[in-house]
């Protein structure tokens, strides 16, 4: 890459790393694993930089690499572990109390980690990044019906593990 491209890449990393980290954290449940995942996505984006015409393409490319890496080609499941003995059924009551909010975060994180990588990716794409089913299918390289199926199963599990999220499904499971 020339100096201009180097500077553009540096700007891109500086501006978008944290946004990528946020999604990666939901995918992995761990700070270090999230950094590793984003590092891998950024590195492959760097190698493809000359082929990416616009900066928006760079972020889309990086996100696609990130999701594929997490779902497909990393040899081992790269997620934090769920601690044994967690009683998720009793967790999840949301209030404005900071302590309860922390408990809720723990419950949600563990519930996410109990999903399959593909289910977790679908949930993050649909409910965190606001992608449609069609867009999620394109990013993951699967059919729309697969996205629907994975999403439905994931929501069922999340509803079970985090009871106060039951509300979400009724309003959100329709096609978009």
């Amino acid at each position: 890459m020339d100096d201009t491209s180097d500077a553009a890449y540096a700007d891109f990393v500086r501006d978008r790393s944290h946004a990528l980290l946020r999604s990666a954290f939901l995918l992995t449940g761990d700070q270090h694993l999230a950094e590793d995942l984003v590092q891998e996505a950024l590195a492959r984006t760097h190698r493809a930089w000359s082929r990416l015409e616009r900066r928006a393409n760079a972020e889309a490319y990086a996100r696609k690499v990130m999701y594929h890496a997490q779902v497909s080609f990393w040899r081992r499941p790269r997620v934090a572990e769920i601690l044994p003995g967690d009683d998720l059924e009793r967790q999840g009551g949301r209030t404005d109390d900071p302590a309860d909010a922390a408990v809720h975060r723990v419950a949600l994180r563990r519930a996410l980690l109990s999903l399959s990588p593909k289910q977790r990716a679908v949930i993050v794409l649909r409910y965190f990044e606001d992608h449609t089913e069609v867009e999620a299918a394109q990013i993951l390289g699967v059919s729309v019906s697969t996205v629907k199926t994975q999403c439905s199963r994931a929501l069922d599990r999340l509803r079970t593990l985090v009871p106060d999220l039951r509300l979400l499904a009724d309003a959100r499971e329709g096609p978009r």
């Binding site: 790393s17 980290l21 946020r22 270090h32 040899r75 081992r76 965190f128 509300l167 979400l168």
Partner: protein, 384 residues
């Protein structure tokens, strides 16, 4: 999308807990490694094709196709020579093995899963030196004295550190500088500048003359001359560790698999999929036995954000990918090999912490209560 539903709000809340990180340099380093690996594989394929054409093997009607690992094991470039080869003691690497993994009889395994009777129950009978680190990085490095007292041997701030095989020197990284200091309190000397250490603590060669470090790329540093020889690009990984005999490297791949490679190999051999472990076990080998057949790893479930340097709690067979059941009661909270293949295990049972030292044949040499003064410290190394 309304953005007001509970799941979205909860995901936003959870994602907000991730800490910012500067990934620019890390991503560039990884990009360079990917580039070199792609180039190496491409060059290897060309060389193989030329070799086949020259040898006429392509004309054999029933010849089997070349193995993939054979492709990349060809000498690829003059720079892909690991200096450890020429210096390694006893580096009798079988030339016929594509990745140079020495062919040797199976290492002994524990013959019993129940506790054995130790030859000694005195801490003073430990023939080597045990080193501890304050939990978390840079908190201090301590050596356990024969009187059972932790003696601070490194007080300077550091991000990562490695203890020499004889236990007499410490290499540590501080502010990107690689320093070496004697455990007796001598002045620290800078031996390299520009070290990035998040993925690689300084790893001493068995002869104590070289350090495997992560500079711009992983390489072997001659401590005396300051010359850094990059590792072959096919050894794409992090957390490299030497076997005690100097013939083998064990390391983690960027995708969290373990690989084993002879020191003059161009690529590594993946350790079979570990079915009995999960989590970070394959992300960071902690210490390697004398031959490279066994490695200590961390298999537990550390708290989020604290996984990077947790002590090993298990021994894994690099030939089978299976865990080796150790004859130790209680929960293992530390396990380290010394260069000779002796294994020091730290375990907790009923609130009491014990140290158990096994020889390479898994005979129990010493089992002793660990002093309470070591609570809050992690076992990180055991040396001669």
């Amino acid at each position: 999308m309304t953005g007001q539903d509970p799941l979205r709000t909860s995901l936003e809340d959870l994602a907000g807990t991730v800490a910012p990180a500067d990934l620019y340099e890390r991503s560039l380093r990884r990009s360079r490694r990917i580039g070199r690996r792609e180039a190496a594989v491409g060059t290897g394929a060309v060389l193989l094709a030329l070799g086949l054409l020259g040898s006429g093997l392509w004309q054999l009607p029933h010849s089997t196709g070349p193995r993939a690992d054979g492709v990349v094991s060809a000498p690829l470039s003059p720079s892909a020579h690991a200096p450890a080869t020429s210096h390694a003691a006893g580096s009798a690497v079988s030339p016929g093995t594509p990745t140079g993994r020495p062919d040797r009889p199976d290492r002994p395994r524990p013959t019993s899963t129940i506790s054995l009777k130790p030859r000694s129950t005195s801490l003073a009978a430990l023939p080597g030196k045990a080193f501890y680190e304050e939990a978390g990085t840079g908190g201090g490095l301590f050596r356990l004295t024969r009187h059972g007292v932790p003696e601070r041997v490194l007080s300077a701030p550091f991000s990562t550190a490695g203890v020499s095989p004889d236990g007499e020197r410490i290499a540590y990284v501080t502010d990107g500088q690689l320093m070496v200091v004697g455990t007796g309190g001598s002045d620290a000397q800078q031996v390299y500048a520009g070290t990035t250490s998040s993925d690689q603590a300084p790893a001493w060669s068995p002869d104590g003359n070289r350090l495997l470090i992560d500079a711009a790329d992983p390489g072997v540093l001659d401590v005396a001359t300051g010359h850094l020889e990059p590792l072959p690009s096919g050894l794409d990984g992090e957390h490299y560790r030497w076997s005690g005999d100097g013939t083998t490297l064990v390391y983690a791949t960027p995708s969290c698999g373990l690989e084993v490679a002879g020191v003059d190999a161009q690529t590594g051999t993946p350790v079979p999929e570990q079915t009995a472990t999960s989590g970070p076990a394959a992300c960071r080998p902690v210490s390697v036995d004398a031959t490279g057949d066994l490695v200590t790893v961390q298999t537990g479930a550390p708290a989020a954000g604290a996984a990077a340097d947790a002590p090993a709690d298990a021994v894994l067979d690099t030939r089978t990918g299976e865990l080796v059941e150790l004859p130790v009661r209680g929960t293992i909270v530390g396990a380290v090999f010394d260069p000779d293949g002796n294994l020091l295990v730290r375990s907790v049972r009923d609130g009491r912490t014990r140290l158990s030292l096994f020889d390479p044949a898994f005979s129990l040499l010493v089992q002793a209560r660990e002093p309470r003064s070591l609570r809050g410290l992690d076992l990180v190394a055991y040396t001669r």
